[in-house]
Symmetry: C2
Subunit: 349 residues, 2 copies
Amino acid sequence: MSYTVVVDAMGGDNAPEEIVKGVVRAMDDDKNLQIILTGDEEQINAELEKAESKHKIEIIHTTENVGMDESPKKALREKPQASINIATRIVHEGRADAVVAAGNTGAVVLAAANNMQVIQGIERAGLAAIYPTAKFNKESRGAALMLDVGATLKCTPKQLVHFAFMGSYYVQHILNVDKPRIALLNIGEEETKGGEVLTKTYAYLTEAEDLNFIGNVEGKDIPHGVADVIVTEGFVGNITLKMMEGVGDLLKQTGKYAFRKKLTWKIGLALLSGGVKRLKAKTDYSEYGGAPILGLEKLVIKSHGRSNAKAIANAIKAAVRSIEEDVASHIADSIKKFNSQHKMDFLDI
Amino acid sequence: MSYTVVVDAMGGDNAPEEIVKGVVRAMDDDKNLQIILTGDEEQINAELEKAESKHKIEIIHTTENVGMDESPKKALREKPQASINIATRIVHEGRADAVVAAGNTGAVVLAAANNMQVIQGIERAGLAAIYPTAKFNKESRGAALMLDVGATLKCTPKQLVHFAFMGSYYVQHILNVDKPRIALLNIGEEETKGGEVLTKTYAYLTEAEDLNFIGNVEGKDIPHGVADVIVTEGFVGNITLKMMEGVGDLLKQTGKYAFRKKLTWKIGLALLSGGVKRLKAKTDYSEYGGAPILGLEKLVIKSHGRSNAKAIANAIKAAVRSIEEDVASHIADSIKKFNSQHKMDFLDI
């Protein structure tokens, strides 16, 4: 079986160099992998040469490209030939099986929503972030997935239930977690908490036999890894995820601050460096490949803006895995089944 | 000038011992302070004796009391004589000028809402948490206030604007921060982000001349201290605040984990202990006194459930400060002024 992944060569802080290097690395490891790159042909070819690529790679040339700080809506409207627009469009046209992109998150999500179709029965796609959890906690499996973290603002119970199905399937089949524990992010554990949307969602999730729903979790539970999939509206997910990044940045700064301060602290930090490296590995985005956009006809993987070659190669591997496992159609099946069982209930949402 | 603070002697993990000790400590330091304690008279008297109190303290005896894990609504309904119910009631009756309570957060907020009046012109009270921010960041002033963190779920723009006024006044006059920087928690910095409620709130805050509104901040900005007051709906504030606590717990566990693991790490941690102590001081709840409930006729300070004597004494000092500064009526004035200037605009919210 051979498969084609389209990669936006121009997205991310380290594009196109690290993107192209990551592509070459992924192709070195997988003989069945075909790649299409969208972006500036001249720049891409220069990078391919530098990376000593011997692979046959199709390039779709475009000089337009959305910057990391541009307004996604405006940029995509004004740049119809932007590399991310073309990448998502050719997947929809059937020329590729999945997308990997490290650019402006809003632009990736919006281009995917504009150019690709949602799975039948689903109203909204969700952006799912994979984040590290406390490894030494008994319950933790080292990483967990939270969705939605930014493709929506507010959600209906139906949309949240669909997110639960999408996340569950992805974590089980791509991250290899057996019977993923699904939780709803809320302000308390009781099923009556959080207002009408969340109490209804809670009730539906309890009824979903194919899901291992463990109930509500609170903010304090997020880093501890008590759940494998945390379901929430995009607004809350976005704030939470970015706060986690903020705290991570802060820890790095604390280290530097301590380092400048005192000799004893310097020595202490040096001795602790084994532990710090472990922590770094745990919080290293490149290990997880990136954030999948779930609920679309094909998988889109949004790699972190700071992605290096390794992160891109891992994202491509996750994309290949999702093609092999046929993630999109399996998600479609499970949601179709659930929708048909709960048709009446959903009509009034 | 003398003032009376009513303290719930039975609330919190360390009640009544640490509560009573904190009260005695606060009275030792302030000759004008009168205290009323609500709770079990026998237990309270035993603790007063242990603490060698020489003060005249009024005790309102009750054997009912809301546990930390009880459902607030149910508990308050079934226990009309609960110590927190009585504490908030006597403030409303004018027998005391402020409340300090370390018990079940939901019960404190609900008892206050049930028994006390909101300031005229305000619809909802807000629970405001004070949290530590990165001291070594240039922008940081060491602590910031976020509200609402749990008294509401969703809010109207009007309610959010009122929270901004309440937070601004409190931070300026009780925490002594000059011209507090007010920010709105959102998923992006642009004023068009976050949906109708937040874009309207943004517009109103921009118009409020008496506020130093600095615009939207994102999740990553929360721990960095770029704002002194962060305004958000209760649901989001609750999730965020609890996540911060979860990350704090995790850091402590990481320390213990490292400690068990390896001799070099043990030595490293020992050398770093000066730094760890600094960090601990920064995240020590007892320094800040507690979370004020703002927008009510009198101030209620919700101390952390784990409060010790020092935290209770600091909470009482913050309460005294708020009485001296007449926080409630100043908030009322500033909101009255803003409401009258924007009467027409608010009618359609």
